[in-house]
Symmetry: D3
Subunit: 274 residues, 6 copies
């Protein structure tokens, strides 16, 4: 490809966590947006195809992260730990690693980051309450606490340097809902791609927090504070209604996982070393 004559909106996009579930899916879908998609992960991933670059990178390695960001126009940060783990892993990937990422973004003059936050930053709200992005944080696990750190860090880099970030509080993004709770939290892959597209192409985003969900019937999250992104989900968990009929899932009165928006995550942590 002749880099001197870019024909796509971006010249080079970086996708971290490219080997993960969402990363693998996004890898295919974001190709139309950039001449070159740079793909990164801490583990080996499929080799680069046309219009792709692969750079393995441990986010905890500061110099490697600085190199990783070289020549990048915008970052889709889906890397890091995405489930409850021991604190050390979370700290290295989601805290130290994220700081390295923003340090590099700042030094390289990059202007926008799409940050995969998580609905687990508010997972301790009860399932009987509807919240918006202004509600105080109530994380449901240490992993969720690390995402609170990420939202705060990205806010700081916006206030300090004008680096724009859209924090995506992703619900449950799979091919289809896997249990009754996901009928509420489901984010279809198509809708995730559209949300990332909105976050990337909206002319100005400042520091925006948005919930990543499809157009499901039952809603815990009111997205009106992010209406400026223009995200309009086209998919719904209703497509799978017959698999998890409401009438089959009445939980016991003391079913903690049905009581909080975070579901089973509220019982997942903390994971102590011994």
């Amino acid at each position: 490809m002749n880099e001197a004559t870019p024909r796509k909106p971006f010249h080079r996009l970086l996708l971290t966590g490219a080997g993960g579930g969402l990363g693998t899916m996004l890898r295919e879908r974001i190709k139309p947006w950039a001449d070159i998609v740079r793909l990164s992960d801490v583990r080996v991933i499929a080799p680069a195809g046309p219009g792709e670059e692969v750079m393995l990178c441990d986010l905890a390695d500061r110099d490697a992260v600085l190199s990783l960001l070289d020549g990048v126009d915008a970052v889709l940060h889906f890397g890091g730990v995405s489930v409850e783990e021991e604190i050390d892993h979370i700290v290295q990937a989601n805290i130290v690693g994220l700081h390295h990422l923003y340090e590099a973004v700042h030094k390289k003059g990059i202007k926008r980051v799409i940050y995969a936050s998580s609905s687990h930053v508010v997972g301790y709200y009860p399932t009987t309450q509807v919240i918006d992005a202004g509600a105080p944080l109530r994380p449901d696990c240490i992993y969720g606490v690390s995402k609170c750190f990420g939202e705060a860090l990205s806010r700081y880099y916006y206030d300090r340097f004008g680096i724009e970030t859209v924090c995506l509080r992703i619900g449950s993004s799979f091919e289809e809902p896997r249990n009754a709770r996901m009928m509420v939290t489901f984010l279809a892959h198509d809708d995730l791609v559209e949300l990332v597209r909105c976050a990337l192409f909206t002319p100005k985003v400042g520091h925006t927090i948005t919930f990543g969900v499809s157009d499901n019937k039952t809603r815990w999250w009111d997205n009106r504070l992010a209406a400026h992104l223009g995200y309009a989900p086209q998919r719904s968990s209703s497509e799978f209604a017959e698999r998890f009929p409401a009438s089959s899932v009445r939980p016991a009165a003391d079913d903690i996982a049905a009581t909080y928006q975070g579901g089973p995550f509220v019982l997942a942590g903390p994971i102590y070393k011994d």
Copy 2:
């Protein structure tokens, strides 16, 4: 029917007020949800069909109410006075009777009540204001005041004993709108059934207040605080737009009934004995 092998979501549902307008309609529609539907009213109603039980009951009769609740899994409470009447009738049915009902629910260990409240608990808001379920109460008649009592009583039983209630602030639930005001307040029977279904089957509801309206164009009530119920109306008063065209209904400046959301109810009471 062999009660030992229930195949429906609930074994026994109780529907009070089964002889009223909404009760008669619901009687048919809720059959798929329970092996047995127990039907109650203070007046004689059609005899029990298959999967039905009929138990006449005056809510003011404490012992009768206790018996009525025996073996019940959940309650759809559509009984009581539903229009402006003398205070004595309202007190016996909607206050003393409701207390008997919750006492029995508590004693029998029942876990959920669907309570037919009314939009008349907020009927004194002007028609130029849009409110949600957090707005302070402004009842438009003594009947409406009794429904305020019911919402408070059910809140108490939730905070005190964990008994869940969904309060349905029903607008105007008829076959079709009967006047211009009902173009705003119309709740189609189909949508009422769906709302009751959501209230009954959502895994956790805590104490939820929701407005019962169809997807009408003009809205006074913003239901976003109850989005966790997953209620999505499929009907609209627009189906009847030609009967009550907006252009035909300009009221006089001093038309009180057009000024308040409660419409003619604001002038209906109070009814003193003499």
Copy 3:
């Protein structure tokens, strides 16, 4: 006294519940405001002194209440049940009786009522939350639910007929705090008198809800929505700080009475007949 030449702000004030704890105290303190203070209770009280009238009255007796209100300029309604009791007593006094009272107020053309509501209409808020008068009701006992009825009924009479009411959500009004919780809820008698005075003499009050507390250091209730009453408490539970030192009252983690603003009231009810 020559009734043709009144020299005090009001000609005749009615104080109901005049034989209760607060009524007995108020009886002395409100004398300067009216030529005649009519005193009422369901039980025998001290005989009328100069400038006083005594009329025993059961609020559940409709005709008696109508007579009681004859010739009255404004009502201080401290009558009714003020603790958790069986539902029948509460209904007769606080619901049927209150309706009789407002019916009579309406028929007699009286323009203002000071209504002794209670902080127990919001007693199920946790002691770690600060609320104002706009917070949704969370009563902590059936008595509290009956006061919710009263607030709604008085709101109705204001919207319907312009009869003004100030609802006083009284905390704990005694000579002095009797336990650690009352260090927060204490309303000194002097301050109650001042609050009643503000409620009675403020030119326009509409329908106002205000919390009745002294200037205590720890506060659960933010009174700013009632700042138009001009109530400025002069007393504080701090005067009694040494009796209930904060350091002596750390409750057990599962101490329900310390968890909710209503304190022991949350466990007081409901009282069933048998």
Copy 4:
């Protein structure tokens, strides 16, 4: 036409600014609503057709305005200055002229005005914030400030005399979006007509402020406070998505016009005489 037997909802509607872009369009569309449409402008417009009256009028001419309002049932006020100009022009048309208009409305006993306000009364909000009609004013030009005056003046005439006004904060109402910003602010002509119809025919409107936008995907303005108007846009800028693809419009970091909702208007003024 026989004026004694009106068959349309209104007998005579006045449309000011009838020669402007929106006025010319509305002239055709509002005919079904009135026996007679009186058309006014400061400049010569097309002669009156059937059911039309043309009265040229300078809003700054007090007597002329008084005559203009004679016999009118309701006013659609689209006259005045609608872009940034010298202060003198704006003052004469939008401030003095508007006062003349309301004085005449008051004297003639007219009960409703549809006032073409502008989204430029809030144009200095950033494009990354979503607001509703309760947000404090932040005009983006002197023209916008004059519209703030108009909203305040109409509020006064409502509180003082009960004259109802709907303020339409119109976005960009053209045949189609003309630039990327208008993908957010676009108000299709069809939708403007529908919004005017709602504002005119809703039985009671009090003083309502509503945003005039189509059902565009990206939204800066949340219209829920005006849901009582029943306005449901049927058009969307998405129809023109291919002309202004999101991916083509990434602005420079210091692009002021992309930073604020007012777009280039924020740089348009103030226009000083020399």
Copy 5:
């Protein structure tokens, strides 16, 4: 005075409306803040004393205003019409004149204006409601509407050019309260001076709206959104409590002036020419 060695915080302050009631009072009190106080009015005022300059000026005269602002460091704008008058006078002084003032402030590079707005921008709120600076405008007269214009214009100049303004919504600033209403709205001269001082000397004020009242017992206005000004009133209408005892002022039920915060102003306008 040797202008090269200023020893006071400001070199030259401009006080407009210096011949009015508040202007005359302020003239003496602000001397310590500036080497030179320039005094302006449309009518003749007392000649300049030491450290004073007098420049008569009609605010409607654009060139004169430009000269008036020459060499000025900050402006205390107390000029213009301050009561209900014919629209023409109000427009010339408070709208055209104010625009001239801000044009000159902009051209001369002045950085801060203290703008005498008025509580009459919200005078149509009922006396039973407590508001803060975020409440939508509800002016009670045309004069009040002109002050709404001023608040919007000053907001624009802040957003557009960074010119800071503090809008003082002055209540009733006299030597002492003159009637019962002023017991609520009283702003003692000492407190006005202190408020102006805070507005002038707080390092950053942006565009701040604050209510100008003393520490009166009854409050309609909650000033917490302006707490960053550090204004702490030291005076109170309570000093004059015996003159307007609350118990003497019970108004008739239909007393409009007691119903709205604006008092008699709500009936003062509009003043039409004939």
Copy 6:
């Protein structure tokens, strides 16, 4: 001391960061609250006196922290990094170390932590805005971001295990204000002690966030959401008014440190390694 007969409210309190500025001060003041005060720091501190224990401890050492918490009744956590430093130091002390602390608190069954958070978690709010504890986080440095982590982590431990924390967003706690900004942010030592006392002895605190400031005239932080703590500051920066007179501190228009509540901290970071 005979540990079997404790005579003070607590048997053993732990104070971390005991060698720091605030720790050294608190060491003396908290003695009356506990039989034994355990003092900890990463650096050598003054040896234990009567009723004291000294245990040096690096918070990053997990086993050491577990030992440190042994036998402790409540924790005053003033340890960790309290200024902007390199990310590694901050991560070890304020993130990894804090997690160790809460892990140990959990394992040892301790019920309450007083956590020294910082006003720098909201330092990027402008000095012209007044916020309360519900405002979204806007940290002004990486140190501030680490305190955001701490607030989120402590919230999690409360929701998950019921461990109560009071987060103190301390302003500037020194003997006296050191510059003009501290006239706003000053927290006198006496008031800090009182705030810690309230946080420690209030019977129930749940998870409370409170601002630590004295009763200064200028306020950026509204503490009403924490009124249940009963904190009433007795000191004020006004005692030092003559040292930093408001009139001496007018900053340049582009003075960043005067623009944001965080003052010079907004420019302090981030500190990269090279």
